[in-house]
């Protein structure tokens, strides 16, 4: 195993990590503030990817496509919050799980009706289409570097938003005591809708950035949603910092396992079996990680209201 490959896989892990963070931040914010578990979060990811894949060619610019897609996805998110989820905040988590499970079926079918069952391809902007030589001899796709950059920028933006602004103060206050916040004259309903829209936009951004790497297809949100759950459970529910740490951890572990396990297994079994076994063991690694973390710290690494 050479160092260059490790560096490349490390960057891939970082890239997956920041994308998972974009997903996890919205999900964990909604969870932390509204005590709401939203399975349909993956649908915003899918919608973001589809909207970008539609507008980018129309506007002849990937960036403009994303800039149009994000507010639209935020609007979809806010509409969903107002129509369907608002009634569920005070319900059991089971009800929320079921209702949002229904939403997944709805959105998958809606996308299938609007865009058809075939996967769509989204190309990265031309100026990010090439590769960059990060260290001599390791060419790395520029677009993936851009994802890392955008993800880290969003992490900084969220940090500043939550710790330095009035909105952030309200968000934090809403997480600890919503009645008190309402009594102080804050429109809690509107705050929730806005946070939900923000979460949807972040998920859509993740989807838009993932579009050129993966195929844009129906159901693409589900696998990433489950990864995101692993992230926020490892990080501690409701904690944005935990989401960041969890996302980077999961991104790294998952990528490394996928890169290394088949090779390691080839040493002990025939290649054809090693590849199959290695791939499925690699898929299992993060769940094993999650089980280990929970066995050690049942509330995750950074519990929000410790």
């Amino acid at each position: 195993m050479n160092t260059l490959l490790l560096v490349e896989q490390g960057l891939n892990g970082l890239q997956l990590g920041v994308m998972l963070f974009l997903m996890a931040a919205g999900l964990t914010l909604v969870f932390g503030i509204m005590d709401m578990i939203n399975l349909a979060h993956g649908s915003f990811y899918m919608i973001g990817a589809y909207l970008t894949a539609t507008f980018a060619p129309l506007l002849d610019s990937f960036v403009l496509g994303v800039l149009v897609a994000l507010p639209l996805a935020a609007l979809v998110g806010m509409a969903v919050e107002m129509v369907a989820l608002r009634t569920l905040y005070r319900r059991e988590h089971l009800d929320q799980v079921l209702a949002t499970f229904g939403l997944i079926l709805f959105f998958n079918e809606l996308v299938r009706i609007v865009w058809g069952p075939q996967a769509i391809f989204l190309s990265p902007p031309a100026w990010l289409g090439g590769t960059v030589e990060i260290i001599p001899g390791v060419p790395y796709p520029a677009f993936r570097l851009a994802i890392i950059g955008v993800g880290l920028a969003v992490a900084c933006f969220l940090y500043l938003l939550i710790t330095r602004t009035r909105t952030g103060m309200l968000i934090r206050a809403g997480a600890s005591n919503r009645e008190m916040l309402g009594a102080l004259g804050v429109d809690v309903k509107r705050l929730y809708t806005l946070v939900f829209g923000l979460g949807a936009a972040l998920a859509a951004l993740a989807g838009a950035m993932a579009g050129p790497i993966l195929a844009v297809q129906v159901g693409m949100g589900e696998s990433v949603l489950i990864l995101t759950f692993v992230v926020i459970v490892i990080g501690g529910l409701g904690s944005v910092r935990g989401a960041l740490v969890g996302a980077l951890l999961v991104g790294m572990v998952d990528t490394m396992a996928r890169a290394l396990l088949p090779t390691l297994l080839r040493a002990v079994m025939p290649p054809s079996q090693a590849d199959g076994m290695g791939a499925s063991l690699a898929s299992m690694t993060i769940y094993i990680l999650m089980a280990a973390v929970l066995a050690w710290k049942p509330r995750g690494l950074f519990p929000a209201h410790a």
């Binding site: 969870f31 578990i37 369907a84 009634t87 569920l88 988590h93 089971l94 009800d95 799980v97 079921l98 209702a99 499970f101 229904g102 939403l103 997944i104 079926l105 709805f106 959105f107 998958n108 079918e109 809606l110 299938r112 009706i113 589900e222 489950i226 759950f229 692993v230 459970v233 529910l237 054809s272 079996q273 199959g276 076994m277 791939a279 499925s280 063991l281 898929s283 299992m284 769940y287 094993i288 999650m290 089980a291 929970l294 066995a295 049942p298 509330r299 995750g300």
Partner: protein, 332 residues
């Protein structure tokens, strides 16, 4: 002694009579296809009741229940595959040949379901609330990926079974009606077992742990142990339903363990009525019939199913059984 003054008793009797009469009626009407559909309903009913045992009575929201169904199905599938392949399943420490004897594979499927539930439950029950939902989901995903990795047994494509399990030479499970009645008998037996379980000291302890775990502890009941036992019983029944499903579909694949399947099982329980024994069976019937009916209507049936689920969750809290059994259900 059943109490004939209760709506519940009548509902169960009418339901049972309907299920008993269904195959001859369907055949007489030339709609034999309904026998197959209702066999699926009975099998999913068994899985849903097993889930309700922990979900409705124990308050454990297991989002990975399909994993146990899948484990049972794969038990049947793998043993059958080896019969066809004429190779032993295991050569060490003892040689174990594949088999299609239902008296062997069905209990084995239940045993495997229970074993997996023991391991998964032992870890998952350390947590509660959302974390429990997530960790059961994660374990189910692990098994899902493991099944995909089993290249020898078809990997992503699964195993097509060439024969059904054999019960006894005289009972031909290939016969649709016979298989239907076998499934009905198994479901009825499990319901009777559950009825006794729920009313027993053990059942009371599990239900008590749902309401107030700390109080149960103070009373001297270790909730963890009781909950884990319920989890294992539930996993075993789900494994058995998986074995029946494998026989019914003559196919086993990773999709049996997909998280959507787990979600559907929860939907069946809630749709039928959580915390009741017959509700989940009704829920399974309602879900599969709705699916069938909507799929007939339009290929985009899920666009209706989703909002219907949302609607049921928001407005019909007690499910179908709550409507049938009447307002007195909460007291018992």
């Amino acid at each position: 002694m059943p109490d004939f003054n209760k709506r519940e008793t009548w509902a169960v009797l009418i339901g049972l009579a309907f299920l008993l009469a269904l195959p001859p009626l369907a055949d007489a009407m030339g709609k034999g296809f309904y026998v197959t559909l209702f066999t699926r309903i009975l099998i999913f009913g068994l899985a849903a009741v097993s889930l309700d045992l922990i979900l409705g009575y124990g308050g454990m929201v297991s989002f990975g229940h399909a994993a146990f169904v899948g484990v049972g199905a794969y038990t049947v599938g793998i043993l059958s595959w080896h019969v066809f392949d004429a190779s032993p399943v295991v050569t060490w420490p003892a040689v174990i040949e594949g088999t299609e004897n239902a008296f062997v594979v069905w209990p084995l499927a239940a045993l495997m379901g229970g074993l997996f539930a023991l391991v998964i439950g032992a870890v998952s029950l350390r947590t509660s609330g959302i974390s429990f939902i997530m960790i059961t989901l994660a374990f189910a995903q692990m098994l899902f990926y493991l099944a995909i990795g089993l290249r020898k047994y078809g990997g992503e494509d699964g195993i097509a079974l060439y024969t059904k399990s054999e019960l006894v030479p005289a009972v031909d499970l290939f016969d649709r009606t016979t298989f239907y009645y076998v499934c009905l008998a198994i479901l009825a037996a499990f319901l009777v077992l559950c009825r006794r379980l729920v009313g027993s000291r053990f059942g009371m302890a599990v239900r008590g742990a749902k309401v107030n775990e700390r109080r149960m502890k103070a009373l001297g009941f270790p909730p963890y142990r009781y909950k884990l036992t319920a989890f294992v019983i539930s996993g075993a029944a789900a494994g058995l339903s998986g074995a029946l499903l494998a026989n019914a579909a003559e196919f086993v694949g990773p999709a049996y363990m997909s998280w959507q399947r787990s979600g559907e099982l929860i939907v069946m329980v809630v749709l039928g009525g959580m915390g009741s024994l017959f509700g989940p069976v009704l829920g399974a019937a309602a879900f599969l019939l709705l699916e069938e009916w909507l799929a007939d209507l339009t290929e985009h049936w899920q666009i209706f199913l989703g909002p219907i689920l949302l609607f049921v969750v928001v407005f019909a809290r007690r499910g179908i059984w709550g409507v049938i059994a009447g307002p007195d259900r909460e007291e018992r």
